[in-house]
Amino acid sequence: MKAPKFSYVRAESVEHACKLLAEHGDEARILAGGQSLIPTLNMRLSRPALLIDINRLEHLAGAIFNGKEVRVGTLTRHADVMLSHMVAKYLPLVAEAIPHVAHVAVRNRGTFGGSVALADPAAEMPACLLALGGRLVLQSVRGTREVAAEDYFHGLYQTARAPDEMLIEALIPPQTSDERSSFKELSRRHGDFAVAGVAARARVKSGTISNVRLVYFGSEVKPTLAKTAMAAAEGKIWNDATAEAVSTALASDLDPMDNLLGKPATKLHWQRVLTQRALDDITSKAKAA
């Protein structure tokens, strides 16, 4: 199980990487952490002509708060997200999600940007990004643009990123002090990809929840904002009736995949259970605060 032949270039700068992408188009692949790319190479499931290694572009690593939003560089390793004080302080949802990402050795190498760029349907970071209303900065020789997370994830491993574009960073608005978030996922074994999961946030004021945002992953082809369910919860007291309404609404938001990890009906059921637990968690966190 050895990778097929390819060419390899270590990018000297973002501009260099973009130039190579422009020249080679979808024949080229950006090599970040490589935790998803290299398995597909070893299995000969992907055959890029060129790998553009961005691991030396260290300025693309790290999470900082610029006073307005948290900027997570594309090369920030999952392990560094996990240790980041900025993330802990401003993005508690991400902090809660990150221990679910794979295992220590993969977190040490795998990157935030790689996960977002790949858009694996079961990945945690894309779901968080969507839940937090983040934006993605894409660069190419044509220039730089920002894409809202809501517009970025198109389908199964499909994103708004053009073949000549490179993901540079994510810009994520900090969670406000009056909101609470919760991250719940089910996976067969710890660190496995989720069979179902929800990234949830809301404001809670005397039992009433507002600004509810529910993003589902694992079951869907892409991280999915459950707008009907969110509407069913918005401005309501979190109680059995609201839970029932949200649960019912969820059926119109989700279209779970049928695969080895479960039937669509099962996944919808799991997502409903996780929704209940996430909103219970959010309201109890609010009470505790």
């Binding site: 990778a3 390819f6 390899y8 290299i38 398995p39 190479l41 070893n42 290694d53 691991n55 040490n108």
Partner: protein, 172 residues
Amino acid sequence: MKTEETQEITCKVNGERITRLVPVRQHLVDFLRMDLQLTGSHIGCEHGVCGACSVRVDGKVVRGCLMLAVQADGQNIVTIEGLTDSGEVADLQAEFVERNALQCGYCTPGQLMTAAELLAEGEISTREEIRTFMSGNYCRCTGYHAIVDAIETTMKRREEASRAPRPAKGKA
């Protein structure tokens, strides 16, 4: 057919400076095993699941099969051979033997590389935390219980040793 592309890399492996020409498609563990005869890192799946190939790159444990050898250029690599020679986990290794926390031994270097990172944190973990930290390393023989025991015992011994009063300066 595309020609085999190679690049020269220079890296530190177990403290030794190494310069080699490597095919760019070769993964790190094949390089360590085949070019440097460091056969202590094992190949179990080559798709990043089993952890048998775990090595330390610039201070962090990573999957050796999910990194290209060419990416090791300029990096500091430590394999089980280097970890052994340094004595860093001599206590853990002794405890693995004592507790029989291995059978066939194929996963063991990877287990030790990962456990070394947990031990380096210098904190006491619960058994559940140890299990979770070690969850990326397959073992098909032991059932994990003995591995958890060995790590837990080593952790506690280190903690006790760190709290023991140090002998006064100048005394043997």
